[in-house]
């Protein structure tokens, strides 16, 4: 693999890791709210969060570019405080990836939290656990499988995305060129061997991730969780 390809791969992995961590942090409270709140805003918020599932990535990328570009509302606001526009930069990629992978994190977390059920939380309340305590000591461990699923989906989905990163990042080698864009470039220039190396690497990463998920699940079934 050429050093340019390694760099593209590193950018992809860094992007996927950062997107996953940020999404889990952001979506945990959002998914908890969606699973437990009885607000009338729940249905519209649910629909909004699922929107990236059905939107073409290029459409999402296009509007993000317009929004974040130097002439867009976000670009101008940032320029007013002397910050660069996130368009065609790594931070722009992170924002775009987060939006694009949002439903892949929110939905498993929401379903996992809903599966915890109200009874064990009521029990915890009668054992003097405060709402935050109940969330940390009961809801989080019981929803752990949902977190694993959400993290793997977010990571894998970000690793493979093409349309959004191309629109927002602009294919700048060493800065915004991810592995999937590099593969496209190699194929365009008929360099099938390089495309193959990068592609095979992505296949292996995907396989390892899936294996990790399944191993994690089998672990849960065989061994009880021991706390003290």
């Amino acid at each position: 693999m050429s050093s340019a390809d390694l760099l593209a791969l590193a950018i992809s992995l860094r992007l996927a890791a950062l997107t996953t961590v940020l999404l889990i942090l952001l979506c945990t409270p959002l998914a908890w709210w969606l699973a437990t709140a009885r607000s009338r805003w729940r249905v519209p918020v649910n629909a909004l969060v699922s929107l990236p599932l059905v939107l073409p990535p290029t459409v999402l990328g296009f509007y993000l570019l317009v929004f974040m570009g130097p002439q867009g509302p976000l670009g101008r606001a940032l320029a007013a405080v002397s910050l660069p526009s996130p368009a065609f930069s790594f931070s722009g990629l992170v924002i775009g990836s987060m939006l694009y992978s949002l439903p892949f994190v929110v939905q498993p977390l929401r379903d996992a939290f809903a599966g915890v059920g109200s009874r064990v939380l009521e029990v915890a309340a009668t054992l003097r656990a405060s709402p935050f305590d109940r969330f940390v000591s009961v809801a989080l461990p019981l929803a752990s499988r949902g977190f694993l699923t959400a993290a793997v989906l977010a990571f894998a989905h970000t690793l493979g995305e093409f349309g959004v990163v191309l629109m927002i990042g602009g294919n700048i080698p060493g800065r915004t060129q991810t592995a999937s864009i590099a593969i496209f470039n190699h194929t365009e220039s008929l360099d099938y061997s390089s495309a193959n190396h990068l592609s095979a690497t992505l296949v292996i990463i995907a396989l390892v991730l899936l294996l990790a998920v399944h191993a994690g699940r089998r672990d849960r079934e065989v061994q009880p969780w021991r706390w003290n």
Binding site: V120, E122, A124, A125, T126, L127, S137, P224
Partner: protein
């Protein structure tokens, strides 16, 4: 000290109009048919359900129109119908969860004490998924106790269990009743459980509290629906006095005299409850001689109530400080010229022991 409760709620088919004061000593049974609002009331006391209500426990306001103390700050233990153990923790982990949240200096029960009381020693390292229904419920009760609650609420803890598990867990509940210092409110629709466990009784009918009082006394009230099917009976509390292995008998001291029962295993001094069916009690004006009936106690007639069957009369008797029921024919009542205040003798043909 008492639990003051007033709830006013109309929700679908359920209408609750309750104003009552429950004692906060011993075990108070919240008794009524299914759908009478018992569970809703209990959840309201715990703060699990936010109803238009006023709840005041031993002078501390838990809830009114403006205040609401959340469940975790009320210090109530709650045992649900199904055990609801934490599936991600083993038995020890479930108990530790409560123990870690016991307020400092609460002087609550120790782990060893509770584990011994509920017979959990052998189960401590088991996964909760491996436990039987009765075992789960015992762990749930132990867990509730270890949070050192000020008030223990139990919502039909036996109703989801089969007969064998019920029989396994009842002795533990009886033992709890003897050792526990905290008040218990016990929801049940089984008069058998109530007779065995309760000191006080609140009768709930169609969303209203009809009567609150001492269990043994309410049981003898002819106007309350507290019989086992058609059969009315009284519950007497006593202490094992002595054993007579030669006749395979034990003697139980109740206020008013000694009752002979089939030989018991427990040592003298142990508190027991016995149930005496109204149809097993007959009356005589003079102390009987040369009778096969062993248990004859002097009694004072309290009142007479006609039964649904016009041939029968229900007679309430006072024996020492406790009440007994006798079911006799109306003819006998007239021939003996029975009247309130009369001194007579109750002949008891059969005594059922309520504690093993």
């Amino acid at each position: 000290m008492a639990l003051e409760l007033s709830v006013s709620l109309a929700r679908g088919p359920l209408s609750l109009q309750v104003t009552c004061t429950l004692p906060t000593r011993g075990v108070t049974a919240l008794f009524g048919r299914s759908g009478s609002g018992k569970t809703t009331l209990l959840r309201c006391i715990a703060g699990l359900e936010r109803l238009p209500a006023r709840v005041c426990f031993d002078g501390v306001l838990w809830q009114d129109a403006r205040h609401f103390v959340p469940t975790h700050a009320r210090g109530v233990g709650y045992v649900f119908q199904e055990a609801s153990l934490f599936p991600h923790r083993d038995v020890r982990g479930n108990l530790a969860y409560a123990l870690q949240r016991q307020p400092a200096g609460a002087g609550g029960m120790q782990l060893e004490e509770v584990v011994g009381l509920l017979g959990l020693t052998a189960l401590m390292s088991q996964r909760v998924q491996e436990l039987s229904g009765g075992e789960r419920q015992r762990v749930a009760i132990a867990r509730a106790l270890l949070a050192s609650p000020r008030l223990l609420l139990m919502d039909e803890p036996l109703s989801s269990l089969d007969e064998q598990s019920k029989a396994e867990i009842l002795p533990h509940l009886t033992r709890l009743h003897e050792t526990l210092a905290i008040p218990v409110i016990y929801v049940s629709h089984s008069i058998g459980e109530v007779m065995r466990l309760a000191d006080h009784l609140a009768l709930l009918q169609e969303g209203r509290v009809r009567e609150v009082g001492a269990m043994a006394e309410l049981l003898t009230r002819a106007d309350l629906p507290l019989g086992i099917g058609e059969h009315r009976g009284a519950v007497l509390s006593g202490v094992i006095d002595s054993h007579e292995p030669r006749y395979h008998l034990s003697y139980v001291h109740v206020s008013g005299g000694l009752l002979a029962v089939s030989l018991l295993e427990s040592a003298p001094g142990k508190a027991v409850r016995v149930r005496i069916d109204a149809r097993d009690v007959s009356l005589t004006l003079r102390q009987p001689e040369q009778t096969s009936i062993t248990n004859v106690l002097p009694a004072m007639l309290v009142d007479l109530t006609p039964e649904a069957d016009p041939a029968q009369t229900l007679v309430r008797l006072r024996i020492g400080e406790q009440l007994l029921l006798a079911r006799i024919t109306r003819r006998s009542a007239e021939q003996l010229a029975l009247a309130p205040g009369m001194a007579l003798y109750a002949q008891i043909k059969s005594v059922a022991l309520m504690d093993p």
